[in-house]
């Protein structure tokens, strides 16, 4: 028995960054919106207040803000010949759960993808020719350009109050900024953060190598900021508890501290937490979504009818809901046909840790996005003619806050326990730090998402199945990057250093990155993408799907800035185009 609920103008599935942005924009346009969030209700005060938020065991190790896998997970294998087995214990990536989503416990690194990213196939062909793209690499343009997305990047950055230094203002290069960034119409809303001592050392060493380091854009605000909606954010206190923690200071923008207060104040937003959507229902001809079915906090099944449905949960769940709802043609790796589940990508990272005998860094101070970056080896910012890969990655040193439950650096070839280990840890804990590559991942025909034939979630639905391994591009690119990192370690004058590289096969066990992408990709062609350049489903025109699932490949950056821009673009398309004339927008 499903309780039928009165039709509303729009339903938002998942109330994190993208759901919050859509809820705000649609309610401001006068629409009545229902928000369905599977996790719990929470807010900055009292949920994220000190001292209890500064608990490394609870939040960093036991994942208090993350998805409870006992209810739902996915299955994983490296390739199709294997049997996928459940991701039973959190490791490689950490999907969030609860109001505000993973945006509550992000580090706050907020990038714009490069102009190259959006036209990656055309630009790679134009510069290097057909042979540069292997047959099994399903590299695609995104169906829109950087310039088309620029106003929405701007909108997201000004909603948050991002702290940073512009490097390219309307085509003019600006000193101290990132010379490789796409042109921006105006500076960042707030100035860059104050660097840590490690940041200063990294900046000095990379500059002397001839690279172009800059204070990276941060959603950890350098000063108090009031955004265009009149919402005031606090200033970061450099407490060092960002990643996997909520921010007590309202200084790390999330949906909770920016867009949701506006949506809620409108009186048009009906938020329902502990409500897990299990299906999007379509009409008999399959071209309109009519309602969503969910299980509420009391365990009761409800069906909410709506004119517009926005699918804004995490990448993985967006793809799963499309598959279990039978919307769009599932991707078939054998033929390369079909689209839902296609081009699953991730992040391929290499890292370096440096150890100094005589320098102290106070690494427990910091902020999630407090870092110095360089883009000299990202995108197509360097010549790939004689390299056996495309793209690359951002290189950065972050001072995120190194509590000793999280971070216990000891030099290579040191024992892992006993008195010798203890002595090394006491010495090096505050004399060591890391820098790393945020490496891109290119799409391969054999890496994809579909439904598991065996394992089920708590609602009886099949788990999503991930089939993924590093491709030749990732292995070659990270080998190249490791050499760059080693050069920086030497230039720093580190007494000891270690370099970590990719393992031959991707493993779901150690934490790497919660930058899962693809599965509901965007594009200009319905035969090779799930949504059009307005994030509208090609098959069901009143369904909009927004998130990093839209990325046809993953760049060498954290995804949130680009995700936020896509959400604003989708909202603009709905409010200013779709409402007047419901139907396909492209």
């Amino acid at each position: 028995m499903s309780t039928k609920l009165e039709k509303v103008d729009a339903v938002v599935i998942g109330v994190g960054w993208t759901g919050g942005i859509l809820a705000k924009e649609l309610t401001q346009a006068g629409l009545k919106v229902v928000g369905l969030e599977r996790g719990r209700y929470r807010q900055t005060d009292p949920d994220f207040q000190p001292p209890h938020i500064h608990d490394e065991l609870r939040y960093h190790v036991r994942y208090d803000l993350m998805q409870n896998l006992s209810r739902e997970t996915l299955s994983f294998r490296n390739h199709q010949e294997q049997t996928a087995l459940p991701y039973r214990v959190l490791g490689s990536f950490l999907p969030g759960e609860g109001l505000g989503g993973a945006g509550v416990h992000w580090n706050g690194v907020c990038w714009r993808f490069l102009p190259y990213d959006f036209e990656i196939r055309s630009q790679t062909l134009a510069r290097y020719g057909e042979r540069k793209i292997p047959d099994d690499m399903s590299l695609q343009d995104w169906g829109l350009t950087y310039d088309e997305l620029e106003p929405y990047f701007d909108q997201f950055e000004y909603t948050c109050g991002i702290s940073g230094q512009a490097g390219n203002l309307q085509g003019e290069t600006v000193a101290e900024g990132n010379p490789f960034e796409g042109p921006r119409q105006r500076p960042y809303p707030t100035p860059p953060l104050t660097p840590s001592y490690a940041n200063l050392r990294f900046r000095q060493a990379t500059a002397s190598l001839g690279y172009h380091p800059f204070m990276q854009p941060a959603a950890n605000l350098s000063e108090v900021y009031t955004n265009p909606d009149g919402i005031t954010q606090g200033a970061c206190v450099y407490c060092g508890y960002c990643q996997r923690f909520g921010c007590e200071s309202y200084a790390k923008p999330s949906a909770l501290t920016t867009v949701l207060p506006v949506a809620m104040a409108s009186g048009l937003f009906d938020l329902r937490t502990h409500c897990n959507v299990i299906r999007i229902n379509v009409n008999s001809s399959g071209n309109k979504a009519v309602s969503v079915t969910y299980i509420d906090a009391q365990g009761q099944e409800c069906t909410q009818a709506a004119d517009i449905i926005c699918l804004n949960s995490y990448v993985l769940n967006n793809c799963k809901l499309m598959l279990v709802s039978g919307i769009g043609k599932p991707y078939q790796p054998a033929s390369g046909t079909g689209v839902v589940g296609k081009n699953y990508c991730y992040q391929a990272s290499t890292g370096a840790t440096v150890y100094f005998e005589d320098e102290i860094f106070n690494t427990f101070m910091g902020a999630g996005a407090l870092g110095v970056s360089l883009d000299d080896f990202n995108g197509d910012n360097f010549d790939h003619s004689n390299l056996d890969f495309i793209h690359g990655g951002n290189i950065a040193n972050y001072s995120t806050g190194a509590g000793p439950v999280r971070s216990r650096p000891v030099p290579p070839n040191t024992p892992k326990w006993g008195s010798a280990w203890k002595q090394n840890l006491a010495h090096y804990y505050n004399r060591s730090w890391s820098f790393s590559t945020q490496g891109s991942v290119m799409p391969y025909r054999s890496n994809y998402l579909d439904l598991d034939p065996t394992y089920k979630d708590v609602y009886g639905l099949p788990l999503l199945r991930m089939t993924f391994d590093w491709g030749p591009n990732e292995l070659a690119m990270t080998e190249f990057m490791a050499q760059i990192l080693e050069g920086i370690a030497k230039e720093l004058g580190a007494d000891k250093y270690s370099i970590s590289k990719l393992t031959k096969h991707y493993s779901i066990v150690p934490y790497q990155s919660t930058h899962n992408t693809g599965g509901t990709i965007m594009g200009a062609d319905p035969n090779s993408s799930v949504v059009n350049p307005f994030l509208q489903s090609w098959d069901v025109d009143n369904l909009f799907i927004v998130g990093a699932g839209n990325f046809p490949h993953n760049s060498g950056y954290n995804p949130t800035g680009t995700v936020g821009a896509l959400a604003y673009r989708a909202a603009d398309a709905i409010v200013n185009n779709y409402l007047a004339q419901p139907g396909p927008l492209y």
């Binding site: 807010q43 000190p50 001292p51 608990d55 039973r88 214990v89 200063l200 009761q300 326990w417």
Partner: protein, 288 residues
């Protein structure tokens, strides 16, 4: 009821109750005007305030509630070799790490409460991760007697009674996957080693409220200040030189034993002089 209903601006606690109850689908239990008030209303401005203090936290008398006595003896002996007491200070044994592990096993970690534990079960590749129906409680309960049995049969004594060098040899063999205890597959022993190792480190460095890190000895070892202060303006004042303070724990702040600024961040004292080092910065205060 009438008086409550006439309030136009509900108290903070009422608002919180209405939000949580509504979020849990209990809106139908609320009165009409309460339902009207329950539109969630996230604060639109930072509203900082001195945190209220809670006052009646007991001093807990510790006792093992999961481990059997032979298990407790094993764990006490093992953690004291992983992090030994030495010239640098107390080790894991002296700081309550065995008790920390006991309490972790007794709770949701021990029961794998947030792990996906549905079958069917089959061993996968190393890249596919943990694929066994045993939760951490069961791994400790299985592997401790196995290792004691091995020690007793090969060395004549259970692990806790071996010399420290024999204990170190046995732990090194466990770590290096060289310990063979028929008929137990190596997989159980290597998983047990990883969990024992991680739990020991967690206990030594997590907040003392969880039972380990007694007297904040783990934090003192590395110079970690514990619960964070507001380091705005302080970070640059300490470029390249150590910020050495009396560490502050959750209990210190909740019980009012350590100073906090108006936003609830710890106010640190210099370890040597007792001087106050960080205060809440002026730039952070602003009108609401």
């Amino acid at each position: 009821m009438k008086e409550r209903a006439e309030k136009t601006s509900p108290s903070l606690s009422r608002r919180r109750f209405l939000q949580v109850a509504s979020a849990l689908g209990l809106a139908h239990l609320l009165t009409g005007s309460e339902q009207a008030q329950n539109t969630p209303n996230l604060p639109q401005n930072p509203q900082f305030k001195a945190p209220g203090q809670t006052r009646h936290l007991p001093r807990v008398q510790a006792a093992y509630t999961f481990f059997t006595l032979p298990e407790a003896r094993f764990v006490e002996a093992a953690v004291s070799r992983l992090i030994p007491a030495d010239d640098l200070g107390p080790g894991a044994l002296e700081t309550g790490v065995a008790y920390f592990i006991d309490q972790q096993l007794q709770g949701k970690f021990g029961l794998a409460a947030t792990w996906y534990m549905q079958g069917p079960w089959q061993q996968g590749t190393p890249e596919q991760g943990y694929q066994h129906p045993f939760n951490p409680q069961e791994l400790y309960r299985l592997c401790i007697p196995a290792i004691d049995m091995h020690a007793e049969e090969s060395k004549g004594q259970v692990f806790a009674d071996l010399s420290v060098s024999a204990q170190d040899d046995l732990l090194a063999a466990l770590e290096g996957e060289k310990l063979e205890i028929s008929p137990l597959p190596q997989f159980f022993l290597s998983t047990f080693w990883q969990i024992l190792y991680d739990n020991t480190m967690q206990g030594f460095f997590a907040d003392p409220v969880y039972g380990g890190n007694d007297q904040k000895a783990g934090w003192r070892l590395v110079g970690f200040p514990g619960v964070a202060a507001a380091y705005r303006g302080v970070m640059e004042a300490y470029y390249g030189r150590p910020y050495q303070v009396e560490p502050v724990s959750l209990a210190d702040l909740q019980a009012g034993a350590a100073l906090a600024d108006e936003s609830g961040h710890a106010i640190h004292r210099d370890l040597a002089t007792g001087e106050i080092l960080s205060v809440h910065p002026e730039s952070f205060k602003h009108e609401h």
